[in-house]
């Protein structure tokens, strides 16, 4: 009796009691499905994080200089000196002054529009292009000019697409709009990346009463230099302040790593929980196989009288358990894909963010392998019981 015939016999037995077989498989179906969806969610979240940070640029470092005590001396010069001292890894620098003064166009106030004071290099660092007019220039910073560059949303919504030459008020300061940036986000929205007003940081620090100072964006030449760049800046700042609490340097790559590893940790925990349900499913299979061996005692007796060896009976029952479990695994994989697609749609609907739940093929293969393996593992004990039945007693069994 070869493997294929045993397999066919197993299929026949599974098909002959469909309801029972399905209930037996249910534990495996749920377990496999859960593993696939959870791994898919994890992948989706990691991808989402990567995509979100890719906008900022993975060669970006964020520097926060708190300085000593209450000193409000703006240390741009110090930062530029550090840049000049490390030309091999550090590329460009922009101070970053976030302002909280409201924006006024004519007599209307727009509170959700963001305002930031930056350097002339900032747009290049983020890869922003200028669509109309010009960007910020070095002389604007030096002269503390009352000019600004606006995002496309501001231009399109408040100026009908022709903002250059118009004026805008930030707090009580009137600024001349000299340029409009290209659209950045896929869809422009209020409060988004395109609803922005950029002015020279020197102007910002002059006119702002509420702005934050001491923040810098620094780029390195390549992503791989992020760690090296971070160390160069930290060393430079330590020389000035002699205190590691006076500053903080974070690289975007590092942030991605931290968040990805947090997501992974959560996913591992969830996967372990799902895996427990696989074990429970396996015990369900063992339970039903034990019942099945008892029910089929007579059949086993007949087969043994007709010449079945113990190994043949063992093989028959193990294959039956493994087949049951593997079919459950396949159904679970299918259900997992369906639920992943549903989850993707739900996330898109509920959160207005597009995150694709992507089950990995490795997870699918592992889930299938594990479910078949569970069948073999938990089918072995009942199968051994069947194989060792005494044929005389088995034939007498009613």
């Amino acid at each position: 009796m070869n493997f294929l015939e045993t397999f066919k016999l197993a299929l026949k037995n599974i098909a002959s009691s469909k309801m029972r077989s399905f209930l037996t498989m249910l534990g495996i179906i749920i377990g496999v499905c859960a593993v696939i969806v959870i791994v898919g969610l994890g992948n989706g979240m990691s991808n989402y994080i990567q995509d979100s940070f890719a906008d900022i640029g993975t060669n970006m470092l964020q520097v926060q200089v708190m300085g000593r005590g209450t000193s409000r001396r703006a240390p741009e010069e110090d930062m530029y000196a550090i840049m000049d001292a490390n030309p091999d890894c550090l590329d460009q620098l922009s101070p970053l002054v976030s302002m909280y003064e409201p924006v006024k166009v004519g007599s209307e106030t727009y509170k959700r529009t963001s305002v930031a004071g930056v350097s002339e290099d900032y747009f290049a660092m983020l890869g922003y292009g200028v669509e109309q007019g010009r960007g910020l220039e070095y002389m604007d910073v030096v002269n503390r000019s009352n000019i600004c560059v606006v995002g496309k949303y501001v231009s399109d919504t408040y100026y009908g697409g022709a903002a250059v030459g118009e004026s805008i008020k930030v707090g009580s300061t009137r600024l001349e709009i000299v340029g409009v940036l290209e659209q950045d986000a896929e869809e422009m929205e209020e409060g988004g990346n395109d609803d922005y007003v950029y002015l020279p940081y020197s102007t910002a620090s002059r006119v702002s009463h509420t702005g934050t100072f001491g923040s810098y964006a620094v780029t390195v030449h390549t992503e791989e230099q992020a760690a090296q760049g971070k160390k160069a800046i930290e060393d430079g700042l330590y020389k000035i302040y002699g205190d590691t609490n006076a500053y903080a340097v974070v690289s975007v790559v590092e942030l991605i790593d931290i968040m990805t590893s947090m997501v992974n940790t959560v996913m591992v925990v969830l996967t372990i929980i799902a895996a427990i349900s696989l074990v429970v499913g396996g015990i369900g299979i063992m339970n039903i196989m034990l019942v099945s061996v008892t029910e089929r005692t007579r059949e086993i007796g007949i087969r043994k009288a007709l010449g079945a060896r113990e190994g043949t009976i063992l093989q028959q029952f193990v294959i039956e358990a493994a087949t049951t479990s593997a079919i459950g695994g396949v159904i679970g994989i299918g259900l997992g894909y369906v639920l992943s697609a549903v989850a993707t749609q739900l996330i898109a609907m509920l959160m207005q963010e597009s995150m694709t739940v992507t089950p990995s093929s490795a997870a699918v293969l592992t889930a299938f392998g594990v479910s078949a393996g569970i069948g073999v593992l938990f089918g072995y004990l009942p199968a051994r019981k069947a194989a060792r039945l005494n044929p005389i007693e088995a034939l007498r069994y009613d």
Partner: protein, 244 residues
């Protein structure tokens, strides 16, 4: 003539708690190739034990059992399974067919365990089913047949592997008298075709259909000889009476 089945001083003891029951007590006998022998006895006489030993389902506690010259007593469970498959064709009282399989598949089971290729198996199963007169019902399930027909399927299954011995355990126990006769006639026919048939029964009227009777009581052989001799059907202590 060479003996196909030979018991030399065979004993079988069962341990039941503190008691030891001797189901076969120094039985010696031999059955030759081509014989039709009935082993007869009341329940508890040891005939089931004899049948289990002849059928290689049990090994003797002591003594020697030779089947076709091979010493069964020294075999392990897998060797016993192999020899059952090769040399023995079982016919049971309860037919013992697989309800989920059709007649062909049922008859193929012993051939499958013998490792016969599928096409050959199928042809052989068809052939023996035709031989027992069920060639037109090969795709039916056992439950669609009468008791007598089911017993014929079980005869076909016993024949399929061309065994050295056909071992029938109360083959008429579940059948009415007319169907019983049919089954017995079929066994006689098989015997006439050269098969060795061993019939186990408690029923004298069935046993006398054989050529030779071996009568057991309390684990001893009390008669071994011609089935048509008057002593063959007498149970000494009960004055020939039949107990149900």
């Amino acid at each position: 003539m060479s003996s196909l089945i030979e018991f030399r001083d065979v004993c079988k003891l069962y341990h039941m708690g503190e008691y030891t029951v001797s189901a076969a007590d120094h039985i010696s006998m031999s059955i030759n190739k081509g014989e039709f022998v009935a082993i007869v006895g009341q329940s508890g006489s040891g005939k089931s034990t004899c049948m289990n030993i002849i059928g290689c389902l049990h090994v003797p506690t002591s003594g020697t059992y030779l089947l076709d010259g091979r010493d069964v007593g020294s075999m392990n469970r897998n060797e016993l399974a192999a020899i059952r498959n090769e040399l023995l064709g079982f016919i049971f009282q309860q037919y013992n067919l697989m309800p989920k399989l059709n007649l062909l598949e049922n008859v193929e089971i012993p051939l499958m365990y013998a490792g016969m290729p599928k096409a050959e198996r199928r042809a052989r199963a068809k052939e023996v089913l035709e031989q027992v007169g069920l060639g037109d019902k090969v795709k039916h399930r056992p439950s669609e047949l009468s008791g007598g027909q089911q017993q014929r399927v079980s005869i076909a299954r016993a024949l399929a592997g061309r065994p050295a011995v056909i071992l029938a355990d109360e083959p008429t126990g579940a059948l009415d008298s007319r169907t019983s006769r049919e089954v017995i006639n079929m066994l006689r026919q098989l015997n006439e075709q050269g098969n060795t048939v061993v019939l186990i029964t408690h029923d004298n009227s069935i046993a006398v259909q054989a050529q030779r009777i071996i009568r057991l009581e309390d684990g001893h052989v009390i008669y071994d000889g011609d089935a048509h001799a008057p002593e063959a059907v007498v149970t000494p202590h009960l004055a020939g009476g039949e107990t149900a």
